[in-house]
Amino acid sequence: MRDVAVVGFAQAPNVRSTPGTTNGVEMLVPIFAQVYEQTGLSKSDIGFWCSGSSDYLAGRAFSFISAVDAIGAFPPINESHVEMDAAWALYEAWLKIRTGEVDTALVYGFGKSSAGNLRRTLALQLDPYTVAPLWPDSVGIAGLQARLGLDSGKWSEKDLAEVAARSRADAVGNPLAQVSGTHDGADLLEAPYVADPLRAHDIAPVTDGAAVIILAAAERAAEYARRPAIITGIEHRIDSPVLGARDLTRSPSTEAAGRAVGTGDVEVAELHAPFTHQELILREALGLGDDVRINPSGGALTGNPMFAAGLARIGEAANQIFSGRARKALAHATSGPALQQNLVAVLEA
């Protein structure tokens, strides 16, 4: 089967709140224009469209249908949607190209988290019988995971602060980041707990945002990008939804996906870790050593648009290839509570 390449990527500014609608049109129209400009493609050149978003975030049924307005979907288009991070929409689009059904695909994700209370909304992704009725919030659950590692000595609060400090420092160079700044890890530790053992710097901000990627069959990719980023591996795996039945300080699904794609010789990795300790879990699961540059964009800790942040990791990894800064880059996306589902992709020049 033929290879598939990322040939274009754009994302909306990561911000705490936008005045726009929950259907994302206002965030999507400008970034669609950007990827058309980058690739020289237009709407009629796109063979397949796939998006990731959630009605629970929007508070309305079929919100992604309104988002299709941003495409200009007439005459009718070949379109699909996942109620997951758009990294999984990219997986569906990758398959469509790989199997030869289409030559190009546009993948987008969007989320206006500011419309509701994200910590509560995310409770509804939990087991609906024995967990969700308690309304466990996303930060509280991440705190349980973080403490397991603190108690076992797998990481310290200082380790977590250093992840935050590095991420925020890297985000200084990313004009689309929501949070950035130069901090000393020790200074960060003086901040109060938000949800003991987590402090504000351990927790990705609540973000409104959107991201878009254009994929093309590898043999066509040179027409659309000077240095296409060939997807040489992409796999996703899932762990049990039962939080109390798995070792939360590890991510077996990430380990399995990483093994399947092969992570050797990776120079840079964009990891979708909405909490500082999760970056440490992912680095271990993927076997990434100290020589691998982690999240040069600042990562999800500096801007975490729901349903788009995972896709943006793939886009940021592709940017490393586009710009010639790396020859082999890894991208990771997560969905669900406490790193339940994980997707790993390897991109090469």
Binding site: G20, V25, E26, D69, G72, V131, P136, D196, G244, A245
Partner: protein, 318 residues
């Protein structure tokens, strides 16, 4: 440009779920102040029970009673509880391994402050004052030895056994787009404001953030009259909850003169069986003092008595 309109949007609904043999037995046990787990293929006792083994997917059927006391495996502190959580005062989420279980369950622990929590501490169930066969029959956990008053005796068999009802309430701030906001503010002044797509020239009302054909924002504002035609319609004969008009009545697609997209509204002022495709209609506005930023300012459309529009003039709008 003025700020887009926004308003609170509060959603509330119940999830009513059938439980099946495994979760049904667990829930019925909770109502009777008992906790039962299920033994997995590898011998581990899962609490809450799982229907299928998480490793080999075998259906699990061997129930194992476990204690209502257990040990905290991990915890996090919630200083400001959110709506719907088990406690309204600051509390800890905890993973609790009940004595006799091999997996931990997530629940809340009631203690005064985070300094009263530690991994490894012993906790016990505080049953809800009224148990119905639901995970919330466990109100929360307390440190072993802390007195929280007696729990009332559990009720006898419940008619709800086998079903779990979970109310959901979500609160949003819903925003209209800038284009919709201009349209809604126009309605508040008794005007229909549409917008024309700069590419295809079509006039949309309500205007869209992007032309659904071309994907570009619509910008040119077009004021439309309050007259138009019925393109297609249905006669509502069925009564339903919340219905405000006595059936039979007509819900119709109204295409305003000069618009390229129809919207749904009511046609009154004639017998339902007199409504026709192509019929000319005019908006019947409510008294001005009742107007807001809503299409509800128009109570309905009614026939003007003019000759019907020919089918060819609206066939492409169906």
């Amino acid at each position: 440009m003025s700020t887009p309109l926004s308003a609170p949007l509060d959603l509330a609904f119940d999830y009513t779920r059938s439980l099946g043999p495994v979760l049904g037995r667990f829930a019925a046990g909770l109502r009777e102040h008992r906790i039962e787990g299920v033994r997995g293929s590898d011998g581990r006792v899962h609490v809450p029970p799982v229907e299928y083994d998480p490793v080999d997917a075998a259906p699990l059927t061997e129930f194992v009673p476990v204690s209502e006391e257990g040990t905290v495996q991990s915890w996090s502190w919630i200083a400001e509880p959110l709506d719907g959580q088990p406690l309204t005062t600051p509390f800890a989420w905890a993973l609790i391994k009940l004595d006799g279980a091999d997996t931990a369950m997530l629940h809340a622990v009631s203690v005064p402050g985070p300094s009263d929590m530690r991994t490894g501490m012993r906790v016990r169930v505080r049953w809800a004052d009224e148990t119905v066969g639901h995970i919330r029959d466990i109100a929360y956990f307390l440190p072993v030895g802390v007195d929280d008053g007696p729990s009332p005796a559990p009720p006898p068999k419940s008619e709800q056994d086998g079903v779990m009802v979970t109310p959901i309430q979500l609160h949003y701030q819903h925003s209209a787009s800038p284009e919709e906001s201009r349209y809604l503010r126009g309605l508040a002044e008794g005007k229909f404001l549409g917008q024309r797509c700069p590419k295809c020239g079509k006039v949309y009302i309500p205007p869209r953030g992007a032309c659904p054909t071309d994907g570009v924002p619509t910008v040119e504002e077009v004021e439309l009259p309050d007259t138009g035609i019925v393109t297609t319609f249905c006669i509502v004969n069925v009564p339903f909850l919340g219905q405000r008009i006595k059936p039979p009545y007509v819900a119709a697609y109204i295409l305003l003169d000069g618009a390229d997209i129809a919207f749904l509204h009511l046609v009154l002022g004639c017998a339902a069986d007199e409504v026709r495709m192509g019929m000319r209609v005019r908006a019947s506005w409510k008294p001005r003092e009742e107007w807001g930023t809503s299409l509800e300012n128009v109570s309905h459309f009614e026939p003007t008595g003019e000759p019907d529009a020919p089918y060819e003039s609206y066939a492409h709008h169906l």
